[in-house]
């Protein structure tokens, strides 16, 4: 299994990375940046699909929360209603997982390639020999020059610059996609997860080779750019964690306040009609969210 993984996935990525290094004037830092951009561009359609699926799921959140309240004591009914809701909106609840599942092996290969190619110790350099092609561009590049800007790519960054960049970009990316919580308990959970991951990765940066941290930073920045264009803005980044007045439905950035058309008491539609209209709007929105193409806003 490991042999198969190495032959089909790891070695092509690793050798491309090293050959790219030769082509870019022996700069492994540039090679990491370029390959990360290339891989992210190649996976772009999948990323967009994943982002749209997530966004569509988020649009349905108010409706789901409503259902959860309504059927709090009847889980069976709740699940039935949720599935019905997904079906009506034309959303597969696992839709956002498949693109992620396809991308994952490529990310792991890129991660492993950077670690292998950097060959921080003599043992690493020796084991690298078993994964290299006989390409001239590869033979000429090894062992790689690990100098890039102020960094030794095979060693951790002694300054805090890279750690701050990794943590900061990861926080921005997470914040853009995390909807604000509706209650206190949820809010503390959300803020903890939004903070913990960037903090953890920022800390890992202090002990991991800076080449890997460089890849994290570039990958996060590209993620932010994709998120920006697919979601049509900074997403939830500018939204406070807890809405000031806790409404029954969480307000997403997409749901901008609409000018209120005052209806006279005689014109006021019945509650049932009002609810049905809201439901239909939410479903339509989720469905549109899914169908919406890139730069659709």
């Amino acid at each position: 299994m490991a042999e198969l993984w190495n032959t089909i996935i790891l070695e092509p990525v690793l050798n491309s990375l090293i050959a790219l290094c030769t082509m870019l004037g022996d700069s492994f830092g540039l090679a990491i940046i370029v390959l990360t951009v290339v891989v992210r561009l190649a996976l772009f359609p999948l990323t967009v699909r994943q982002t749209q699926s997530t966004k569509a799921m988020q649009t349905l959140q108010p409706k789901i929360q409503e259902l959860q309240k309504k059927y709090a004591k009847n889980q069976q009914k709740l699940q039935q209603e949720m599935m019905k809701l997904y079906k009506e909106a034309g959303i597969n609840p696992l839709g956002c997982l498949w693109p992620m599942l396809i991308q994952l092996p490529i990310w792991i290969a890129l991660y492993q390639s950077i670690m292998q190619a950097l060959a921080a110790t003599p043992e690493n350099l020796l084991s690298l020999s078993q994964h290299l092609y006989s390409w001239a561009a590869v033979g000429q590049a090894v062992p790689l020059n690990d100098q890039f800007l102020w960094l030794h790519l095979s060693r951790p960054d002694p300054n805090l610059i890279l750690a701050i960049l990794v943590g900061g970009t990861m926080w921005v990316q997470q914040k853009m996609v995390t909807p604000p919580a509706t209650d206190q308990r949820q809010q503390s959970m959300t803020s903890m997860t939004t903070m913990m991951m960037p903090l953890m990765f920022g800390f890992f940066t202090l002990s991991f080779p800076s080449g890997l941290a460089l890849y994290w930073v570039v990958s996060n920045i590209i993620g932010i750019i994709i998120q920006y264009f697919v979601s049509g803005g900074w997403g939830y980044l500018r939204t406070p964690s807890v809405p000031k007045a806790a409404p029954t439905q969480a307000q997403t950035p997409a749901q901008k306040p609409v000018p209120v058309h005052k209806i006279s008491p005689t014109e006021q539609p019945s509650k049932t009609v009002q609810k049905a209209t809201e439901e239909s709007k939410t479903l339509k929105k989720a469905s549109e969210e899914k169908k919406r193409g890139l730069f659709g806003r």
Binding site: L104, Y111, E123, L125, Q140, V142, P143, F204
Partner: protein
């Protein structure tokens, strides 16, 4: 039915998320944990004692006679000395722990014995030190910290100063020690640890051993260059550029210098003018230092082959296919060539024909250079054991595992 489907989805989503978390965690953990023991020091023999660097950061002296008799350690002439980990400042702490500033010392370089001193060089992250230890009386103070005896020294002398990490073994010629380090410098030190001349700057990592011939030191770095430096004053005599960086240590024989490169070639270069005499292509790197004897170059290759090549023409005389890459330098004794594959199989070959005389499996990886003395071959394996193999019979004469020694 709908219920079943919804609960299935709910369950599956949770499971998939769990799998993702697990993969991400294992990825991080695998990045955090490096190999526990590192290094591949070979042996320096003197008066029946073998001196070598262990994979747990110590220098060990073992008496071959005492080991063959199974006497308790330490017997006569035996000792173990812990190489002090360089204490540098600058460790950083974060919200969930601290990152140490210094790494434990590792020994890749094979020690050298000259007089009563054993020269050892260390590898600790970016840092390295050269140490001269009195091989007859290495000592510890009452706290168990290595105590320095008369004549012993370390370079650089100041405890907080370092040279680059050392991988290539030092050499001693006419009481002068020559050593290259990861900081790209070639150092020349006398028997008291004083610099003979200012370190020669090559501009990139030196991970191979230098060689000396006719008042010149030959050293290669990872910038695809071979430098010829004057022994007298450390000035550059000549610089030779090669198409790829040099992977093996240099061997000088006659008027040629032999080395393997990372583009899978073994070169013979004229030392007089730096011209290429021949090159021989293998299936992978020639990582192990080749041997040149009686007009034949014996070279182990990471493509699993051991090659015998005519030193004057570069023609292949024979090749032997081993079971795994050959990473450790082979040895010659009389008419036998002994090579170890990375998987731990020792091959004893007829040096003239390449015919297999016998094999011995030691069951652990071998990367350290082999050492031969009086019909015995000594192997430092990755399981932190030393094996003595009788070349004639192919028997394992004794084995000694230092992992239990305090």
């Amino acid at each position: 039915m709908v219920n079943k489907v919804t609960s299935f989805f709910k369950f599956k989503t949770k499971r998939v998320s769990l799998i993702f978390c697990f993969i991400a965690l294992s990825l991080l953990v695998s990045g955090c944990t490096g190999p526990g023991y590192q290094g591949w020091s070979g042996f320096a023999g003197h008066d029946g004692i073998l001196y070598f660097g262990t994979m747990d950061g110590r220098v060990l002296a073992i008496n071959t006679s005492a080991r063959s008799q199974g006497l308790p350690f330490p017997s006569e002439g035996e000792w173990a000395l812990s190489v002090k980990t360089p204490a540098t400042t600058g460790g950083m702490c974060g919200p969930i722990g601290c990152v140490p500033a210094a790494q434990p010392a590792t020994l890749y370089a094979t020690p050298v014995v000259a007089g009563n001193l054993v020269y050892v060089a260390t590898y600790a992250g970016d840092n390295g030190k050269v140490m001269a230890i009195n091989r007859l009386a290495p000592g510890y103070d009452k706290d168990g910290i290595p105590a320095w005896n008369e004549g012993e020294w370390f370079y650089p002398r100041k405890e907080s100063k370092f040279i680059g990490a050392v991988v290539g073994s030092p050499i001693v010629v006419e009481d002068m020690l020559y050593i290259g380090s990861s900081d790209g410098k070639l150092y020349a030190l006398d028997e008291k640890g004083n610099e003979k001349w200012a370190p020669f700057e090559t501009g990139d990592k030196i991970w191979t051993s230098p060689a000396v011939k006719d008042n010149a030191v030959y050293v290669s770095n990872y910038e695809r260059k071979l430098f010829v430096v004057s022994i007298a004053d450390g000035s550059l005599l000549r610089e030779i550029e090669v198409p790829s960086a040099i992977a093996s240590s240099l061997v000088i024989s006659g008027e040629s210098v032999y080395f393997g490169t990372f583009d899978r070639l073994l070169y013979a270069v004229d030392i007089a003018d730096g011209s290429e005499r021949w090159k021989f292509e293998g299936g992978n790197w020639f990582w192990a230092t080749p041997i040149v004897k009686d007009g034949v170059v014996y070279a182990g290759c990471l493509d699993h082959n051991i090659y015998a090549i005519d030193a004057s023409t570069g023609e292949k005389l024979w090749q032997f296919i081993a079971d795994a890459p050959i990473a450790s330098a082979p040895v010659l004794s009389d008419n036998l060539l002994v090579a170890a594959s990375k998987s731990g199989v020792i091959y004893v070959l007829e040096s003239a024909s390449g015919d297999l005389a016998r094999t011995v499996s030691i069951g652990s990886e071998v990367m350290a250079p082999l050492y031969a003395e009086e019909n015995m071959v000594y192997v430092h394996a990755r399981n932190r054991c030393v094996y003595a193999i009788d070349m004639q019979s192919g028997d394992k004469s004794w084995e000694f595992c230092y992992s239990d020694i305090k």
